[in-house]
Every structure is written in C-alpha cells, then in structure tokens.
Symmetry: C3
Subunit: 337 residues, 3 copies
Amino acid sequence: MGLKVFNDLAELEPAQVDALLKLARRLQDSPEPRALEGKVLALLFLSPSLRTLSSFQAAMARLGGGAFVISPDMSIHGLETRDGIVMDGVAAEHLREAIPVISSYGDALGIRAFAARENLEDDLADKQFGRMRDLVKVPLINMESAIQHPCQSLADWKTLDELKVPRQGGKFVLSWSWHPKALPLAVPSATLHMAAMRGMDVTVVRPDGFELPPAIMDKARRAAAASGGSVTETSDRRQAYEGAHIIYAKEWSSTKHYGDRVADQKLRENLQDWIVDEPSFATARPDARFMHCLPVRRGVAVTDRILDGPRSVVIQEAQNRMWGQMAVLYQMIGPGA
Amino acid sequence: MGLKVFNDLAELEPAQVDALLKLARRLQDSPEPRALEGKVLALLFLSPSLRTLSSFQAAMARLGGGAFVISPDMSIHGLETRDGIVMDGVAAEHLREAIPVISSYGDALGIRAFAARENLEDDLADKQFGRMRDLVKVPLINMESAIQHPCQSLADWKTLDELKVPRQGGKFVLSWSWHPKALPLAVPSATLHMAAMRGMDVTVVRPDGFELPPAIMDKARRAAAASGGSVTETSDRRQAYEGAHIIYAKEWSSTKHYGDRVADQKLRENLQDWIVDEPSFATARPDARFMHCLPVRRGVAVTDRILDGPRSVVIQEAQNRMWGQMAVLYQMIGPGA
Amino acid sequence: MGLKVFNDLAELEPAQVDALLKLARRLQDSPEPRALEGKVLALLFLSPSLRTLSSFQAAMARLGGGAFVISPDMSIHGLETRDGIVMDGVAAEHLREAIPVISSYGDALGIRAFAARENLEDDLADKQFGRMRDLVKVPLINMESAIQHPCQSLADWKTLDELKVPRQGGKFVLSWSWHPKALPLAVPSATLHMAAMRGMDVTVVRPDGFELPPAIMDKARRAAAASGGSVTETSDRRQAYEGAHIIYAKEWSSTKHYGDRVADQKLRENLQDWIVDEPSFATARPDARFMHCLPVRRGVAVTDRILDGPRSVVIQEAQNRMWGQMAVLYQMIGPGA
C-alpha cells in the first residue's frame, strides 16, 4: 500500500492494519532476506529503550538491510533541543541539524522521542514529536512519543489475533498499575485506541485522578463506534475484570496533576495494591491472559507468579514488535512501498 | 584505481579525486547493494562523532557490507595510549593491542583520532595518528585526526560541484567563527587545501592570532599553483566576502597561543561578532552559499536565519559524506580495489 | 553437525572440535558471504568486552547476517538480576524479561556474563550463567561466564594448530601473572582444559594460594587421559618453562581466598615479579611462543619486549576468535545446522 509515516493506528484504515498484520505473519513464516538489501534505517533514541532498539535492528537485518543508532548517551556532541537559543553551553549540536543529517543517511528514520510531561495539552498534541517530524523528509516511524506508540499497538493487535481473542465481544481491560514514578501516557493512549479500533469491549480501570484525558477517550469512542466495539471507564477493579479476555496492565501518571510531580507522588502513595496478581483474574475468563508492553517492574505492577505463569504473553508481545515492524518497513521502503 | 590509505586529499592526484567524485555520484544514482557483501569495516572512535559514526555505517550497509564500532565510552576495558608505561592504573588495554585486534576483524579500518592540541608541531605532523597508523596492516581511513579530515573535504568538493561553483574563478572564503572553546585545525586545514586543489580563489579570513600555520598555507599555495587557483589571507571580513561564491565558516583555536587555553580564551573573548549572518553576504554574490562541516552552534558561529534559509547547504554537505565514503570504500575493499 | 549450545569444549567430542577448526579455516580461505543471510545474532554484554563485541559483529557480517548489541551501560532501563525482588529501585527491567525478549529477536543469542566472585562453588557451577541459560530457547553461545570461555579456547586451539605445536608432546605452560585486581577463573579454566583436550603436556605454574580448584584440575586430567596428554601443577617457574613450546600467561584471583578481596590483595602484593619477559624463555624451546587472551596490561603481566617481539602471537589469537566463531555460527544457525 505504501506507507510514508507510521505514527498512529488511527491514521490508518482498518484494512491497512489488517494488511500489515497479514504481511507480518507472511514475513514471519516465509523469510525474505533480500527484501531490503542496500536499504538503511536511521534510528534516533532520545530516551531509553531495549525492545525498540533491538527489534528494529533485527528487523532490518532479517530483511537484508542495515540500521544505525544515534542516542545522546553515545559519544556525540550533545544535542540541543530548544529553538532560538544561543548555543554557548555544553551542547555542540542542535536537533535541527542532527535530525536532517541522520535522516539523510537513511531510507527511513525512526525516532524515540521523550515526553516532556510538563503540560498535558502539549503532550496530547505531541508537540515535541511534531517539531522533529517537520524536519524529516524521508518516511518516518514513531518509535514512541509523548502520546503515541504505534509499533507497540501493532504488535499487541497481532498478539490478540494469535490468541484468538474475538474482535467482536472480546473484553479488553486496560488496568492502571502502580509504579514509583509518573510514566507517560503514550502506551495507555495507544493501547486503548488499538483495542477500540479492533472492535473489542474496552474497559479502562484506574484510580481517581488517573483518568485518561477526554481527548483520548473520545477518540477511542469514535473508533469503537466505527468498529462495533465499546469503551467504558471505571475505578472499580472487581467490576472491570469480570469476564475479561485480557488484562493489560500499564503504569501512567496522574492526569489530574499532570506535570506536578509532588502532587502525583502524593496521589499514588497509597495505591501500591494496584498490582495484578492471580486473584485479579478471579472473575475473568478462565483462559484470560496478562499483557504488558514491558519493561515491567516485578512485584510492583504485577507479581512474579503471573509473569512466570501461563497467563503471561509479554514475551510474545515483545517478539511481535519485530514482525510488525518488518511489515511496516516492507511497506515503507521495501517491495510494498 | 585501488586505495590503500585515505588520509589527505593532497596525497591523491586531481584525477583520482575526480574518479572518486564520479564514482560517488554513480553509487548515489545506481545502487550496488552487493558490492561489499561479506566485507567488514572496523570503526574506532577516540573522540565524539555524529556524521562520521552514522555515515560510515550507512555507507557499508548500502553496499551490502557491515561495520562495527569501538569507542572508549563503551563498556570496554579502558584504552591506554601512552607508550612504554607500566599499566597498573585504570586502563586494562593498550591501543598497541586494541588497534591491531580491531583491524584484524575488518577488511578496512577507520580511525577518528583526537587532537592533543598541546604542541603545534606534533599536531601538524599528525603525530598521534601516525603512531596509530603504524599499527595497521589493512586499508586505513582517516576519519579526522589532529590535522586531516579527508572525508569532509571529499564531501565538500562534491557539494561544490553540485552547486556548480566554478573551479577556475570560484571564490571560496574560509571564515573563522567564534566558539567558546579552542577547536582543532583539522577542518580548516583540510578545507583550505581542498578549495585550493579544486582551483578556486581561496581567501582565509580570521582575527589576528588565528592565522593558519605557514606549513598549511604553503602546502595550499602549492596546490593552488598546480590547479590554477590562489590563496590569500586577511583579517578584513568586508574585503574577504566581496564577490564570494561560498562562505565556509569554521571555528579553530589560536595558533599564536596553540595549546595555551588561557591565552587562547583571552584572545577570543571579544570576538563574538565573528558570526556569519545575512549582512555578511552583503557584498558576496547574490547566490552565495553558506557551508559548515557541522556540528555548528546556532547563534554562535552562524545565525538561525542563515542555517534555516536558502543559503545554507550544510545538510547537503553532510549527506555527501556518505556518498563520498562509499566511493572510497568501493575503491579500497570493493570492486574498484 | 548442528550445535545447540556452545558453552564448554568439554561438552564436545574431539572430532567435533576438529570439524569446527576445519570449517573455521575453510571460511577464512573461502568466504561465504550469504551463508547467514537474513539471520540475526543477539548479543548481551553484562561485562566489558572488546574482542568479543567486535569479533561477533564482524563474524555475522562476513557471513551475510546481522547482529545487535545490548549492554547495561547503554540507554536502556537498568537491568535487575536478583530473583524474587520487589523492583521499586532504579532498575526498571528484569533479566527474566530482557533475556527472553532479546533472544526472541535472534536466531541465536550470545551472553557475556559476569563473575560474581563471591563464592567459589557457585562460580565453578556457573550458577549465574545457568540461571540465564534457563531463560533461553534459541541456540546459545557462552561469550565468557564465571568459569567458561569456549570461544577463546577454540581460537587458541586454532592458533596452536597454525603454529604447528604438536598435539602429542607439545609442552604448554599456563603461567599465572600478576595483576592489580583479582580476575575471574574463566580463561585459566578453559585454557587448561583446551590444552589438555588437545593432547599436550600441560603445566600450570602459579604462586601458592593461586592453585586452580581441584574440580578444574580433575576435569582437565580426565581430558588429558583421553587425549594422551598430561597435566601437572607447580609453583616453580624455572622448572615449568623448561622445554616449553608455549607460555600462556593469565592473571587470576586467589582460590585460597576466593571472594575475599582484602586477603587476595595481601597475597598478591609481593608477586609483581610474576611477569613474563625474555629471560622467562631461557630454558624454553628456542621457537617458544607467548600467548595471552587479551586484554593485557603492558609492563604488568608481560613486558613490551615480548608483546612487540617475534614470540607474541596475541593478535593471531584474537583474530582467530572471529574465524572460530564464524564456524560456530555456521553450525548453529547456518548451512551446517
């Protein structure tokens, strides 16, 4: 179909997502080790990564291409991100040069951005990523920004298909989990949308003060309306988990006190019991599965028992990152472009 | 033609440079994704890099080969560089082993050296790089040393050709720029020589105390004599910029106080107005372009207005690093070897 | 023959080692740049490396495949290694997820483990590596653990063959060397076993308190019995070196005070004369060679005179890491699998 930007599943038609999933499966079953020969993926990491860092390099190698990685913790010149500044400090290079330069070496560019988490409106508008996006002339992959994580969503959708979770009538619970720090909204936002777009009945369960922003909820509800799914929100875990096919745990920051670390900390200080354990599944379907995008803190967001037991599909999700991204790359800079 | 060392454009005949430029263009227009299949480039970075780090990995991938990177800030054993030392300190590995080992894994080796900037004679003789060069038995690429940067020069020459700057009669201004720190002489030396060797009329403009060393100037003058170009030097910017096709900005250390950071700092403290801005182009040709090797400090060496405007070709220069290096690799370890 | 795990030469039949060595030589002489096309090697480094880091990436590239590297000093999320812990500290990811995830992206996985060096029994049982090994479902390469280093041993065996050191009757001296710190037992253990398995007459020479553990010695003696070689141990260097074909220097920790850094330090404080120099070779064979796995501290374990002279084959050993590993990979995930 040809992909120029992979930023948000919401920007694709459901048929396009299905085409990507079908292609991902085909590449998994029938290797095409020369599909991207001579092609280069430039990878810019402005925040930490393990799966993304590994899976994109592996994806390119499996298709016969190559990748290179740039991140500020390497021996580069320090990266300035602020516009209109006199650069007489430590950083010797500006993102306004670094991004065009790096992308000029690649057939496509992947950017792992950072979430400023200072202002909710800015993050919902993906302001930082948008500024970088404007500098790029080659096909672009969002490898997680303040509010998007389309590669995770594609991998999770593939995982749900493999688990045969029904699209219509599948119950998907996005369950807030405790974490010592306030984490970004990218994965919960993207996951909610993915589940709604897939046609499932989605329940978001979170403590008060951690509601997902109305803009995110509304967007998901529109996707659910189009797909035949539904979106509801509650703070009642017992009710939320009832009949669930999937409990998808995710840690995120308080939206009530977004950007206010002290108030966020205070709000979460008594919420350590928001951890997924076997009793959480008491009223779920017997074959209900546990999902998480990783990294996950054992004994914090979820117990060892769940992670090491048969309910967990977290490794399958992680592996599907690679197959999904191979499909994206194939349609972006390969034979499917 | 076969290349064993790529260290200094001055070591090549003009016809060899032209052959490299022609090959670079051919590889840019007609990919050869298997030209270097099974070939490996070893890359040693002893100082920071972004373009070099990225463009060499991308170059190898585009030609079907591979590369690996070693730098002291990675989790290696610490690299000792001093000869004749009892290694009972922190560093557990000596460059005298590290370089032969790394190069034994590659078909060619690239070294990004550091400029000691303690003694001008040592740096002009490229003493540190020479010691490393003696340890290498495979084809070697100078990825910037104390006094050389041939990959940058090849890229800049290609850029000038693309801009149709005339070889005979083209006016090229190498313009000293302010920077908070004393930077090496590699790029100004290499750039001056490249421009003279290309046959242009080159003006070096710099404040007093920042004269390029006589050895560098004399070498460039000999190249200009052979190519039909010329080399002049001045501290008068207005005069220097008049009729220029190119203003090439570069920061470098005081040569009068080479290695004396305090005296250098004192000498540069009132020179912040050595910044390239639109008024600098007042008497230049209307279509005059701005060049810089990057990284560049915005608002310090050049204004945002120039970098973001139509005069700047800095991204084109950076991209040409890759195409030029592909030609070098092709002639060094590929079909052209 | 097909290899699922490359962990210890002792787990292979001598004929299998010979097959690997023959294959390594063939790949060195006749490149097969598409043997591993589309294949990926995942590399996890939990401790520093230079040769291993470089040679595995180069090995995959020479065979047409790709590799990616993960290490805790990269911008990842911090790796927790302890089991059963509540992860409310700095590390955001557990090895129990990281290893399955990384290996899910590779056709094979290499792990460079760390030696805890707290408890000799644990390290002899390779407890840390074993815990990681249990998490891996793809073919696995031990890139050095607390007690193994099979890639080094394969490279050293190849080097000995190239030097035409006789298998039967070759005298191999494993000679303890001074080092400011207590180093792991992996290389001395693996080297001793390799030399015994190759059929040579092996002498371990070390100061009192640095005896290799009985389990290691006994295992080597059994290998020697099967191969027609022998294993002896002494603290008398003059006697040990007599008639030697090879002096193989290696630094290791006190086994008498294993895990007790203070006592180890006290024991080694007067042993700086355990350095290999030309006089060490006085009673050795005239053509005796010096071997070391690197990194080596010049002027500490061995003098510059030896390292820079004709006896040293350390670079040849290092290069053979790559050729040996290519054979392993070829049999693990390539045409020989």
